[in-house]
Each structure stands twice: as C-alpha cells, then as structure tokens.
C-alpha cells in the first residue's frame, strides 16, 4: 500500500474541463495537508484534441510531475492509448466503458486496473452538463484513494456558486459511491489527510505568482496583448484590478503595451507588461527606449518554443540570449529567471525595486512550464514586502539648480522626479541627451552619458551581493554539479534526489540572475566541481554559452530537450547518469 505518494493524470479533449478537474483535485490534496504539483499539457486549439493535467501529491515537497502516473482519469480513449504506458504497475484507469471501447490488444498490458464508472450515465441522470462527467470521475478517484470526500465537497463549494457546487457535489458523490461499491480496496494507492506545520499554503501558478507580486509591489498599470503562455497574467490581473486600484488593460498590440508601460514609468507609476517570443520581438524597440530614457517598467517574457510561432502552447528556454541582447545599442538591464512559484513571487518584487533604483529595464524570463504549472507553497509573506524606489523627489523640488532628470552623479543614478512635481520639469529623450534631457549630438557628452548609464552597474552589482543571484542546492560539494536556470529547477531537484539516494553524487547550481551575470559566484562554486552538466530546455545550450563567455570555461556535458515538453525527473536522472 502506497500512501500519500500519488501521481494522477486527467486526460480528455480540450473544452472538457481537464484543467479545472485537475486543479480541483489538487486543491483537495492541498487541503488535506499534502504538497502538490500540477501541470497542464494542451494544444493550440479550443475544443477536441488531447489535453492532460497531471497532479502529483506527496507528504514531502514535490517539485514537478513524475515520469509515471498511478491513476488516470480518461475522459476519452486517446487518453488511455497515449498514457497507458506511463502508468505504474498496479496503477488504474478510471473510464466510462459505455463510451470507450478498449481491447486487450490496444491496452497491451495486464498489470493495471481498468475501473469502469458510468460517467456519462451518472451525469445524465443528474441532468447536469456533460462536463460533469469529470466530477463524477473525481468522486470515483477519491473513493479509490480512500480519501475524505468532505474535503472535495468543500473545495467545490468554494469554487462554484451554490447551485453549481451542489450539482458537482452530487456528481462526485455518485462517482464515489459507484467506485466504493464496485472497486473496494482494489487500488494500492491511498491518500490521507496529514498534519502540516500549520503554515498556510497556496496552490499557485508561476504566472499568478508574478501577478501577485506585481500587485504587492505597487504596480498600478498592467498593459498587455494576449499571447500564450503569458495571458493568464492578464486574466488574473484583470479579474482583481478593482480590488487593488490598478489599471489593467489589453492594448491593440504589444508595441502599444510596451510604450505605454514606459510612459507610465516616466510618469511615476510602477508598471508591467508580459508577453511571449513574437510579442517580445515587437517590444524590443521599446526596451531600448527604456534603457535610454532610464525608465523602469518590468517586462515578463514567458517563453514557448520557437522559432517564430513554433509550438505556442508548449514550453522552452530558447529566448535567453535574445532577452539579454534585445534592442540596438548597449545599456544595462536585468534578466532574472525564477525557478519556481516561490521565486516567481519574491524575484518579481526584487525586479520592481531594482528596476526603479537603477532606472533600467527588468526582464523576468519565465516559460510556459513555470508560468502555467501550479505548485503548493507557503503563502507569500506580506510583512516582508519592501518597496525601494531609490531617490524620488516628491511634491516639490527644492534644489537650487534646475532639476535635471539625467544628472550625472557619482554612481550614475539621477534622482527622479515625476511630471507634476513643483519646480521641476522632467524631460527625457530616446535620442542621446544632456542632463536636462535635451537632445545632443556632441561626442564628448554622448560618451559621458553612455558611461553614466553603465556606471549604475557598479552599484547594482554591489547591491546584488545581498541577493541570491545563484543558489546551490544539495550537498555543498559534489563530484558533479548540475547547472540550470529557470523552470528546469523542479525536474533537476527531483532528479538530484534520485541520483543522491545512496550517496552525494551531484549538487545543483541554479543561476537566477542571467544579467548581470553572476560570474564570480558561479566560478567559486564550479571550483569544487569535478564535472559539470548543463540542463536546458533548448537546442543550443544558451546557458553554456554564457558560462563560456563569462567564465572562459566550457561545461562538460549538456542535456538538452527542445520538443516543447519539460524534463521528467527520472529520465533526466537517467540521462545525467549516462553522461557521467
């Protein structure tokens, strides 16, 4: 009997509520004290096709999906055919044999349980919509797992309006009862409520974490044009803007969004936009303008596989170099890559502060896998939120000399005033300019202004000594150091667990700040590594190229995957073993 160590997969057509079901189940696990990871795999279509949501729930922290699943809820036949081989020995498939005919041959394995539940019939009898088949199946799953059905009922009550909630509760009950009656004690996996440390936890996606952080950080303008997989940030913020006194709007294009957040930053509000590859291209000109005008909006780049439109609903890490070098000319910027939902929140707070203090663009580079996967994490500490906007002149400028928006100071940072400040006229300029913001073409002054902008890097670099620009996970020293950035964190942490089961074979260096590149810290850490393995969701190993450029060393191995899918931990561990 395996208790509280479960991988469940809900699969079916798009539009069948796959993601919703997975999330409801995940929440039921969360409320039972479990740690949960949930991720959705979907295609670029609205109905039909094949979607699946994977929920992994355990007592200990879980960082990503597993290679195998224990229980499948199959709302169509395709789900069975596509995922049966992922099923662990002794695993089960909940399906509606009235709807889905599957032959032994098709199944081609006999070490798993087929659990027929008349989903359609039950849903019909309840006079509910077809989508309620899901909930029936969830009820059956809870029965098989011997989990407390009350938790799910409460989840449903909280998720829906009373009438719909009751319908769903009835549906789960029917599914629960059917399974209890017909499949009692035949499944080797159980879920049980467990005690937690009492800390409140949430089940949150990377995109939501970024959005929450933006609100926390005082962001008052969010402007964006929809682009998968960044769009849920827009959806989330649009749904709460009234509660948080924020202006959230969908613009006509990404170009508009980018210039709008830049304008807003100039005028004194914290602002943010998000997009994916194609939209980021269109924003690139505006990012350069931000560099030149020393404004400080935050840009979230949620990657998906390219080139071009590529695989629009899948995941990749192929835009790192582009994010670092986008836009003509040279100017300091921040490129920060959170690895999980906790970092997504706290690093976004940092991004807002650093962008404003140093008056540079901040790019948060994330991807579909991080952005659209949910994870349980402790609620974000609201007492920790610190806003640091650098030196701001408010209300009235009291200086004796004329206010100069781009004043050349010791550290390159010019105190900011915003338009509307008495006695200060605030002028900035995408052309090269003098301290007052007037256009200049003078070679000496131009050099000075360029130097001023880069000068800020010194103070920034110093401040970053107090930030976790990299993190070393696992044993302090190990023969092999795995290196990664961004959303590969979950799979790498899990792979490390597998690899280090018996001895401390590997540790894991997570690079969080990609620009400015934390060369010294990486150097120090790599000094004690005999062998290095870079793991990336891209084709050319862009992180390796950065390590080469900045450290003048090559990594020993690269494990790359660029099919749009995240790494699975066991196969990743296997691939790491193979190269070692």
């Amino acid at each position: 009997m395996i208790t509280n160590k479960l991988s469940l997969l809900v699969g079916g057509e798009a539009g069948a509520g796959i993601s919703r079901s997975g999330q409801l189940f995940a929440k039921a696990c969360l409320r039972g004290g479990l740690n949960v990871f949930g991720t959705i795999d979907y295609q670029s279509l609205i109905r039909g096709g094949h979607n699946f949501y994977t929920v992994r729930a355990e007592t200990q922290q879980v960082y990503c999906q597993d290679d195998t699943v224990d229980l499948i809820i199959a709302l169509n036949k395709e789900t069975i055919l596509l995922h049966k081989d992922e099923l662990a020995k002794g695993g089960a498939i909940i399906y509606d044999a009235d709807q889905i005919k599957i032959t032994k041959q098709e199944l081609s394995r006999d070490d798993i349980n087929l659990i027929h539940v008349p989903l359609r019939k039950i849903a019909k009898d309840l006079a509910g919509p077809q989508i309620m088949e899901n909930t029936v199946a969830l009820g059956a799953a809870i029965a098989l797992l011997d989990y407390d059905p009350q938790i799910m009922n409460q989840v449903l009550k909280d998720a829906f309006k009373p009438k719909i909630a009751q319908q769903n509760i009835d549906a789960t009950k029917q599914g629960y009862d059917y399974a209890k009656q017909n499949y009692k004690d035949m499944f080797g996996y159980k879920l049980q409520k467990t005690k937690t440390d009492g800390k409140q936890r949430i089940f949150v996606a990377g995109n939501e974490a970024v959005a929450l952080a933006a609100i926390s950080a005082g962001c008052k303008l969010y402007a964006a044009y929809p682009m998968t997989p960044s769009t849920s940030i827009l959806h989330f913020l649009a749904s709460v803007d009234r509660e948080y006194n924020m202006v959230v709007l969908q613009t006509e294009t990404e170009i508009a969004a980018m210039n709008m957040v830049a304008g807003a930053s100039y005028a004194g509000v914290r602002s943010m936009t998000a997009t994916s590859g194609g939209g980021f291209c269109l924003m690139s000109e505006g990012i350069g303008m931000v560099g030149m005008t020393e404004t400080s909006p935050v840009v979230v780049l949620v990657q998906r596989p390219g080139p071009s439109t590529g695989l629009p609903t899948y995941t990749a890490q192929g835009d790192l170099r582009f994010a670092i070098h986008a836009s003509q000319g040279e100017f300091p910027r921040l490129v920060i890559a959170p690895g999980d939902v906790e970092e997504a929140y706290y690093l976004t707070l940092d991004a807002f502060n650093l962008a404003e203090k140093y008056q540079i663009p901040a790019i948060i580079i994330s991807d579909k896998y991080l952005g659209e996967s949910n994870q349980t994490t402790q609620i974000y500490d609201q007492t920790k939120t610190k806003i640091d906007r650098g030196q701001i002149i408010t209300d009235t400028y009291a200086g004796t000399e004329e206010y100069m928006r781009h004043k050349i100071t010791e550290n390159g940072i010019s105190p900011r005033a915003f338009p509307g400040t008495k006695n200060a006229l605030v002028r900035t300029n995408a052309d090269e300019h003098n301290e007052l913001g007037y256009t200049t073409e003078d070679p000496i002054l131009s050099t000075k202004m360029a130097d001023k902008r880069f000068k800020k890097l010194e103070a920034l670099t110093k401040e970053l000594q107090n930030h976790a620009t990299v993190k070393l996970h696992g044993p302090k020293t190990a023969k092999t150091t795995i290196i990664g950035w961004g959303s590969t964190k979950g799979p790498i942490l899990e792979a490390m667990k597998i690899l280090n089961k018996n001895e401390d074979k590997v540790n894991y260096l997570q690079v969080i700040y990609l620009t400015p590149f934390p060369t010294d810290r990486i150097k120090t850490i790599l000094q004690s590594a005999k062998e290095t393995v870079v793991v990336e969701n891209n084709q050319t190993s862009q992180l390796s190229s950065l390590i080469r450029e900045h450290l003048l060393v090559d990594v020993d191995h690269r494990i790359l995957q660029y099919d749009g899918r995240p790494f699975n931990p066991q196969s990743l561990a296997q691939r790491i073993l193979e190269v070692l």
């Binding site: 409320r31 006194n245 807003a264 100039y266 005028a267």
Partner: protein, 285 residues
C-alpha cells in the same frame, strides 16, 4: 502665469528657416499661455522626425519617445497620472505610417489628451521621402516616378473611429491654430488636430502658397461641428478648397470615466506602498 519667456529653452532651434513647424511651436506656446496652465502640469510627448524636436523647444515636461509611438507613450503617462495635461506631437510618417496601428484605437479609447500631427506630407528628417499623406504623383527620392497610391485621409479616419474631437489646422494661420489647440486641450476626451505644415525643404508641392490658396475655415462656412454626417462630408473635400477648423466634437465618456476604482487616486504615490494580496491568496487555498 506662464509666459513666452518661461517656455523658452536653451536649445538652438535646428528647423529649416521658414519651416511650418515654427507656426505650430508658437501656436502651442500661446495656447499654453491662454490656457493658463502651469509648466509642471503639462507633458509634451513627441515622436521622431523634425516634429519630434518640439521637446527641445518648449520648456515643460517632455518625453521624446520613439518613431510612431506618441500615442501609447502618452496614454501610459495619462494612465499613470490623469491630472497631467498630455499633449502629443507626431509627424505624418510617425503617426500615419509607423504609428498608424494606434491611431484609430486611440480615438476609440478616448483618453483625455491631445494629439497634434505635423502633417507636412513628407518624411522631413529623413530627407523628404513620400508618406501616406503625400499626393499621388508626388516625386521624392524613394518615389522618383511619383507616389502610386491615393493619399490617406486622417481626418476621415478619425471620424470613422469615433474621434470625439477632430480638427485640422494650418501652421500658416498661427492664431487659428492656437485657438484649435486651446479647444482641443480643453476638450474632455481624445482630441486630434492634423496640421498642414509646409516643409520648405522637401515639399515642393504643398507649399505655404498652395495651402493659403486653398484652405478655408469651417466655422466661417457655418459648419455644424456636432453633425457627424456633415463632418464626414467635409473631411472628404480635397482640391481647390480644403477645410480647416473643427470637423467634429462630441462629449462622450472618457476612458477614465470607466475606471471608477482609480478615480482621484494619486497612483504614483500609491506605487510606493506595498499592497497586501492576502485576499487573492485565500482563493488559492
């Protein structure tokens, strides 16, 4: 009260002698004086082109953005601080070529700001190529055999896009232009003025004389600026007689009227205060 002297900047003006931009510059300064606005409360946003240099010649707040993006940058400023008077200065290429994608949408959105387009029917600063408002047959370095397509009609487009204040001015008639600007800035909503601006260096066709011979004032011909139908009719007039003045004007809700939740708030100040998101996190439990 702000004076002409207050509005002067240390920058040497680098427009060609006789350029139509001077009329626009002076009209704007006089409009500011007439409106009695404080320099600190007005933001000038400009695109890239000869017109873009406006930012160097008026001593108020200024945001000299990139080519074609006056509208979104100005909108961002307005959204950040609706107390500011935001006036954008764009060029014909800037707005009707590179920035064309924003134009209709800005009319629809109706934020309370003003857009002034220096319409010299050429790309001035890049040495005189044809733009979308160049007349058919206009010869330039990029169109040595003459412009092929018929010209774009920005006024008609503004009307069709629900522009709530649509006007055309002529930089050769500075006082008239100034009064248009005063009305435009006073207007609650998005106001656009397309300004005929002779480019003495490159537009050999649409000269001061050419315009002077043709333009007439709508208000002198009894045009009713609340009649959209008539406005559209007038917008389509082009030839020996070309109307200037206010084509259309209406009071309709501004974008901010639909944002009750930020009404009266000092957003730049609020950006300095952390916000507790516990309520949202509760939904994620």
């Amino acid at each position: 009260m702000v004076t002409l002297d207050d509005l002067k900047t240390p920058k040497t003006n680098t427009w060609c002698p006789g350029c139509g931009n001077f009329g626009i510059l002076m009209a704007f300064k006089k409009a500011l004086i007439e409106l009695g606005l404080q320099r600190e409360d007005v933001v000038l946003v400009s695109g890239i082109g000869c017109h873009g240099k406006m930012v160097n010649y008026v001593n108020i707040n200024g945001f000299h953005g990139i080519h074609g993006r006056v509208i979104p940058a100005a909108q961002g400023i307005k959204l950040a601080n609706p107390d500011l008077t935001v006036v954008g200065f764009a060029g014909d290429a800037d707005q009707y070529n590179e920035g064309w994608g924003h134009f209709a949408h800005a009319m629809r959105t109706n934020m309370d700001m003003t857009l002034i387009v220096h319409d010299n029917m050429v790309l001035g600063l890049t040495t005189g190529q044809a733009t979308s408002t160049s007349q058919q047959g206009f010869k330039s370095k990029s169109t040595p055999y003459g412009v092929i397509p018929p010209m774009l009609n920005p006024v008609a487009h503004a009307l069709i896009s629900n522009g709530s204040f649509v006007a055309r001015g002529f930089s050769g008639d500075m006082f008239h232009l100034k009064s248009l600007m005063v009305e435009a800035i006073r207007h609650r909503g998005f106001a656009v003025i397309d300004v005929f601006q002779p480019c003495v260096s490159f537009n050999y066709l649409n000269t001061y004389d050419w315009f002077t011979q043709r333009v007439y004032k709508l208000e002198e011909q009894g045009h009713d600026p609340t009649d959209k139908q008539q406005a559209l009719q007038k917008a389509l007039e082009w030839g020996d007689r070309i109307p200037i003045g206010i084509f259309y004007k209406e009071e309709r809700p501004t974008y901010h009227d639909s944002l009750p939740h930020v009404k009266g708030l000092d957003l730049p100040k609020l950006s300095s205060k952390p916000v507790d998101v516990t309520a949202s996190m509760k939904e994620m439990m």
